[in-house]
């Protein structure tokens, strides 16, 4: 039945490429943004893979959206290659620039409402956090503005399409003390951020065949991604300009400074790495330290 077909949406981000040869750091250890290339963020890639998983398992229409400069359409293309999207949305307008997470979420929720010909999405996926901003706030704030229950740190999920129920598994680290694995049942629609450790698995032959078919379709589509791309400005998206960009951001960046060095907490003995006698003394110290504790 066509009307019960799942509608999956994904929000993604173009981020600095932290891989070797592409990333550039200043001599003080900070990121050199001008020299660093941009790609689909790794967490966005994982979210895209989760969308493909849903499509292979249940059959689904997949839409991908991002807010960013025109070049962000490259990230949409890279995401389409992973999730075989039928629709790509770019929300691009100079007035969106400088938005904090709340103002970004306003654009994204408006965009998501326009996906799938204006029909409600059943599941929205986003990445765990961006590699550059690292706040992890945009996903949950977009979810809240959409009115969707939010589930973070999701490592697995399944959908009972007929009964419109989802089952999600979350991996929740408890402040570095231990982890909790939580299994939850929730009626659709839901908003999920995918944990970086998520790995989609296709166990049966028919799932794998469907996966390969989608992959091939994704390659064909991504080669012609512009045919799937819709670009929206603030006006065509229909957002209130007072709620987006800098005017819609409650927070501002007031100051950026180098972090001063902390007080010296230990007095280091400095050893020349080329001095073998001194290295031998360190090795002895290490051996004693580990050995003594073993007794």
């Amino acid at each position: 039945m066509e009307s019960s077909r799942l509608k999956i949406s994904v929000i993604i981000k173009l981020e600095p490429d932290f891989s070797e040869g592409n990333v550039s750091y200043n001599s003080d250890g900070t990121l050199n943004r001008a020299e660093t290339k941009s790609i689909l963020g790794p967490h966005s890639a994982v979210a895209s893979m989760a969308a493909l998983h849903a499509k292979v398992m249940h059959g689904a229409d997949v839409s991908v959206g991002t807010m960013g400069p025109p070049i962000a359409e490259q990230a949409l293309q890279q995401s389409q290659l992973l999730c075989d999207a039928d629709e790509l949305h770019l929300y691009s307008d100079r007035i969106f620039a400088g938005a904090d997470t709340l103002a970004t979420a306003e654009v994204l929720r408006t965009g998501i409402d326009k996906m799938h010909d204006g029909e409600k999405s059943d599941i929205v996926f986003s990445g765990h956090r961006a590699s550059d901003g690292e706040t992890g706030q945009t996903g949950p704030q977009t979810a809240w503005k959409l009115g969707y229950p939010f589930f973070g740190n999701v490592i697995d999920f399944s959908v009972d399409v007929e009964n419109r129920l989802a089952r999600v598994t979350r991996l929740v680290p408890i402040q570095g003390l231990y982890d909790v694995i939580e299994e939850i049942e929730a009626p659709l629609p839901i908003f999920i951020t995918i944990h970086p450790s998520y790995k989609p698995t296709f166990t049966t032959v028919s799932q794998r065949l469907s996966f390969f078919k989608c992959q091939k379709e994704a390659r064909d589509r991504a080669a012609l991604y512009k045919n799937y791309l819709k670009t929206f400005t603030a006006q065509t998206l229909g957002v209130d300009p007072k709620l987006v960009g800098l005017p819609g951001s409650p927070t501002i960046v007031y100051r950026v400074e180098k972090i001063p060095r902390a007080k010296t907490s230990r007095m280091a003995e400095i050893i020349e790495g080329s001095n073998q006698d001194q290295i031998r003394a360190v090795a002895k110290k290490i051996t004693d330290m580990i050995k003594v504790k073993e007794i």
């Binding site: 932290f18 891989s19 070797e20 003080d28 250890g29 900070t30 990121l31 997470t101 709340l102 706040t135 992890g136 949950p140 704030q141 809240w144 503005k145 229950p149 939010f150 589930f151 973070g152 740190n153 089952r167 929740v172 408890i174 402040q175 003390l177 982890d179 694995i181 299994e183 049942e185 929730a186 007072k242 409650p250 927070t251 501002i252 960046v253 007031y254 100051r255 950026v256 972090i259 902390a262 010296t264 230990r266 280091a268 003995e269 400095i270 050893i271 790495g273 080329s274 073998q276 290295i279 031998r280 360190v282 090795a283 002895k284 110290k285 290490i286 330290m289 580990i290 050995k291 504790k293």
Partner: protein
């Protein structure tokens, strides 16, 4: 300094500092006492400078946890707003967000905390959450509901009056914002500090009030105050009303698991950072040898977790996972011996390893911050130092075996 006579200011509808308490199956997590400690220090200053009537208010949601309210008071809360309900035993983002937002908007609660502001109270002035995953998500949804600003992963806080000109906030005019929370956030590199402010829009074309000023606080950064059982405080019971639709989200199963990477059971941890970059595969192989020699576990710095290198050997690439990050965005460790190889010592990394008993750093640059955080600093390239060190360790071991 005399209290500022600013009772007509718009933000005077906003009072108190609310600290959202996090628990796991009824156990209060350490971060709560750290948040309360910092809240206490900030509000002690605030009470002297501005108003003695604004309080540190802990917000606790749970089931059969009322007895824990006293503990929150002993650690610095002036008041605890406690929401008791069996449905609040476990954290669920939707239900927790709604209850916390109700509490933030509740005049009666504020009235019981300080009758003086009962008329004008609209919402908290400041709000703190924990910057673990649960708190980060919760703070995001609560502040989306309250439509105010949020800064995440904060490690320094100051309350002050600020003068600034801002194109959108003040239409370029110099304006003074009283009692502003300066929220310091280290960036992902650990070398830059960004101060974030949450400010009302005073631009005549776009006036808007943004309160509370909220942030999430990195666990392990702030010191709790010494607990004092004689501290007095008010406990306010908040009557919870839940929407039955929201309860259709069901937790079916919950289990505690040990992380597959168990730092606690190893005496030594060998961590590496961007110093491996000249030949990552060979250098990680060296670290792997050192690890085996010491029976150690392996950690990494945050930049390494972004998978910057193509490493063909799958065993070695297994080290490059977010679960191995030592620092504020990962694990906190305290082994007998911590060896930092090619790690410069960004503040966030230091926070995760500074409790180690003995620290050895291997780094060519004696100016790198790790020098101030180690007991032995071996100056040299890891490519040169590690082979020698590993060989010496083997000889030491052989000697020990001969002696035995």
């Amino acid at each position: 300094m005399a209290p500022t006579p600013d009772s007509k200011m718009s933000n005077e509808k906003y009072r108190h500092l609310y600290v959202v308490i996090e628990h796991e199956e009824g156990n209060l997590l350490p971060v709560n006492f750290e948040m309360l400690g910092e809240a206490r220090r900030l509000m002690d200053g605030f009470n002297v400078r501005y108003s003695a009537e604004e309080k540190v208010v802990a917000v606790l949601l749970g089931s059969e946890m009322r007895s824990q309210c006293d503990k929150l008071i002993s650690y610095g809360a002036d008041a605890v707003i406690y929401a008791e309900n069996p449905e609040l035993k476990y954290h669920r983002n939707l239900v927790y967000t709604k209850v916390i937002s109700q509490i933030a908007n509740d005049k009666d609660c504020s009235n019981k905390i300080s009758a003086r502001y009962s008329e004008e109270f609209k919402r908290p002035r400041f709000m703190f959450f924990s910057a673990d995953d649960t708190g980060r998500h919760l703070s995001a949804t609560v502040l989306a509901e309250l439509e105010s600003g949020l800064a995440s992963d904060i490690n320094k806080l100051v309350i002050d009056d600020i003068e600034l000109k801002h194109e959108h906030k003040t239409k370029g005019q110099l304006e003074k914002y009283f009692k502003t929370l300066e929220m310091y956030r280290p960036d992902f590199s650990g070398f830059l500090w960004t101060t974030i402010l949450c400010l009302d829009n005073r631009h005549p074309n776009n006036r808007r009030e943004y309160h509370p000023q909220a942030c999430s606080i990195i666990p392990g950064v702030f010191q709790p105050i010494e607990s004092d059982n004689n501290r007095k405080g008010v406990i306010v019971d908040f009557k919870v009303t839940l929407n039955t639709d929201d309860l259709s989200i069901k937790i079916l199963n919950r289990k505690v698991v040990k992380s597959p990477i168990d730092y606690d059971s190893h005496k030594a941890i060998v961590s590496f950072g961007r110093g491996i970059n000249e030949s990552p595969e060979e250098n990680i192989a060296l670290i792997d040898s050192l690890k085996r020699e010491l029976g150690a576990e392996v950690g990494i710095s945050l930049p390494i977790s972004k998978k910057p290198y193509n490493i063909s050997n799958s065993k070695l690439s297994a080290y490059i996972t977010p679960e191995r990050v030592i620092g504020t965005s990962g694990r906190k460790v305290a082994p007998t011996l911590y060896i930092a190889v090619g790690i410069s010592g960004a503040m966030q990394h230091i926070a995760g390893m500074k409790e180690s008993e003995f620290v050895i750093a291997i780094n060519p640059d004696t100016d790198s911050p790790i020098r101030d955080e180690c007991d032995i600093f071996i100056k040299g390239r890891l490519e040169d130092v590690l082979p020698v060190l590993i060989e010496e360790l083997r000889q030491q071991k052989a000697m020990v075996e001969v002696r035995n």
